[in-house]
Symmetry: C2
Subunit: 349 residues, 2 copies
DNA sequence: GTTAGCACTCTCTCCCTGCAAGTGCTAATT
DNA sequence: AATTAGCACTTGCAGGGAGAGAGTGCTAAC
């Protein structure tokens, strides 16, 4: 009865060599290449035997009989779990990131766009940043600014320092003074409450409580409660999609198209990056990704925070064949810097 | 001496048929196809003669000796100027647009994103919306909200109803009350002034004027005047880039890559769409576009307004071979609806 | 347990050929 | 004078080997 081979030191060295080489060249790796380029001190024939074992163990695949081997999902998984070497960013890259995050005046959206761009430029893969979920935030201040006699600009600021705004067409006329009164009342009564809960129910409760302030306020609240749907808010910032076209795995336009179409759908990206929280960099490889069309890709991501609150996620999407050690370092670096900048802000009352 | 042929009724019918057919099939059009599909009542041989004339006039090109003809830039130009039929949006498309723009509560960014997406979905080309230029706007209200003892959120609202915000790290500590005072003073003194002018000079002038309010205000102003750089603000919203990969002209990945990379650069898009104002839809064909890499594309765009003020531009980018009549109608439709929604807001004091 | 040798498999490239499409030109026709 | 039929010519493209190259698995020797 044939017995299953077991993983050992040399096999893992061979696996490491294959992953490293395949990542670098995009060509299936043969036994001779390994023997020549990576001094393992054994002949191609020995390596062939090891490779056959590694294939039996599920770490390698063969595109066709007479080609070299490429790593399987499982092979990559073993590689990132045990073999990968983290490659810190170069001084130039550090400098670039420092410049992005050192500014004394910045706007969140520009910041995360720059972060996504830097990630994609440095890795030549697609950089992604998932923005804040307003649902978890709490109201800090609410203002209604008149734009027309029956139109106002609703602006609210959350405790995490984000500003949201919407134009509201009121079904009745209102004066500037009235809007100001309503703003004050709203701020006074909603401050500290979670944005997520500002649905119909909460506003109707508020409406009853404040009913005595008159018919106008009542109408406004009623209207607002009907109109405001939080959710759908979480924005995703993507950069460097064209870099994917440099990768040989996407020289087939049809394949590229399917993935590009996905990368334009914020909902898909958000779902794919919706992982259990963790304070380390997360790696998803091939079929580990929930979305079928991304099974030829890998995703490396980590959460960023503002103080003790998780805000969103920073990540990189690319073909499975990517330089994991480098990308992990980049994602980690960007995440920490972003959290660093955001972390210095706390709710102050 | 051979004389130059002249454009006549029949030649223009032939040109029209060639453009229409090429747009539909993406294949060079031969004389027989024209004779068969477009009833011009003449034989292929006659059409061949007309085609030779049209080529001599510069309206057609031949990819190689034994292929059919395709329109040149000049041919498309003649087509859009004289021959094109505007094809109104279908009721379903109208309905989709209506839904996007009918909402009673909306946020500008979501609105233009939806507009860009609708444009790209309907045309299967890339939809683009250039956002407002904050420079032309005037301050309406300014607020500094405390985020930490030495950090504030600067929020300003413009007279056109746009909200901008930035986090400001102050080089000194400040109390909430002080920030509120400064906010009021800033609003009071800057209201109505153009955002563009809020550079060093203007704030320093303000600083002198308000100097008596104390050292803190002075410092804040000094800091703000050093930090705030408007400009770079104009944001561009792009949607449907992957649709381009459906077009046969982009089955060459390298070509696609060059153009995709451009479409990620907001500055390039802004420049390319920076046309002299006009209240009609503008068409740029091939080499008419300022950017070399887009010479295989055409751009159809129009400005949108809020009342009497121009805000930005809505457009569609695609290969030169596009259904001009349809796209023009779409761009026009979206522009008018967007202007309609924005137009109802005016500065009210 | 390791390695050299070797037959075998598979893909990829190159080249060749035939085919299809379309043209321009000439001569005949209206 | 304009139009059309006919025909020789050009060109791109698909299909079909042939041959090279890379890599493997297996066997037998070390």
């Amino acid at each position: 009865m044939p017995t299953m081979p077991t993983m050992d030191e040399r096999k893992s060295r061979v696996l490491q060599a294959i992953v490293d080489d395949y990542v670098a060249t995009a060509e299936p790796v043969g036994s001779r290449t390994i023997a020549r380029k990576y001094r393992l001190g054994v002949s191609p024939a020995t390596i062939r035997n090891e490779m056959a074992d590694l294939e039996e163990l599920g770490y390698l695949e063969q595109p066709h009989t007479s080609a070299g081997r490429i790593p399987s999902d499982r092979g990559y998984r073993y590689y990132v779990d045990w073999l990968m070497e983290i490659k810190e960013a170069t001084p130039e890259e550090q400098e670039r990131l420092r410049r992005i995050f050192e500014r004394k005046v910045w706007e969140f959206e520009s910041l995360v766009r720059a972060a996504a761009r830097a990630l994609s430029d440095m890795t030549h893969l697609t950089g992604v940043v998932v923005g804040p979920q307003s649902e978890e935030a709490r109201f800090r201040e609410i203002r209604l600014v008149p734009l027309a006699s029956d139109r106002a600009l609703l602006v609210y600021i959350t405790d995490t320092g984000f500003v949201e705004n919407a134009v509201v067409d009121l079904p009745f006329e209102v004066t500037m003074v009235e809007l100001q009164q309503i703003s004050s009342l709203l701020t006074e009564h909603l401050r500290g409450q979670r944005v997520e809960l500002m649905g119909r129910g909460a506003l109707q409760a508020l409406q009853r409580e404040l009913g005595r302030y008159g018919r106008l306020l009542e109408q406004t609240l009623e209207f607002l409660s009907e109109s405001i749907q939080p959710g759908e808010r979480r924005r995703v910032y993507v950069s460097g999609v064209p870099y994917m076209l440099e990768q040989p795995e996407f020289r087939d336009v049809q394949k590229a198209r399917a993935i590009f179409a996905l990368l334009e759908q914020e909902a898909v990206l958000e779902e794919v990056l919706n992982l259990p929280e963790s304070d380390t960099v997360q790696i998803q490889i091939g079929a580990e990704i929930k979305v079928e069309d991304l099974h030829d890709c890998s995703i490396i991501s980590a959460t960023y925070t503002a103080g003790d609150r998780t805000i969103g996620r920073v990540g990189v999407i690319g073909p499975r064949r990517m330089d994991y050690g480098r990308v992990v370092a980049m994602v980690d670096e960007v995440t920490r810097r972003l959290s660093g900048v955001l972390g210095r802000q706390r709710l102050v009352d």
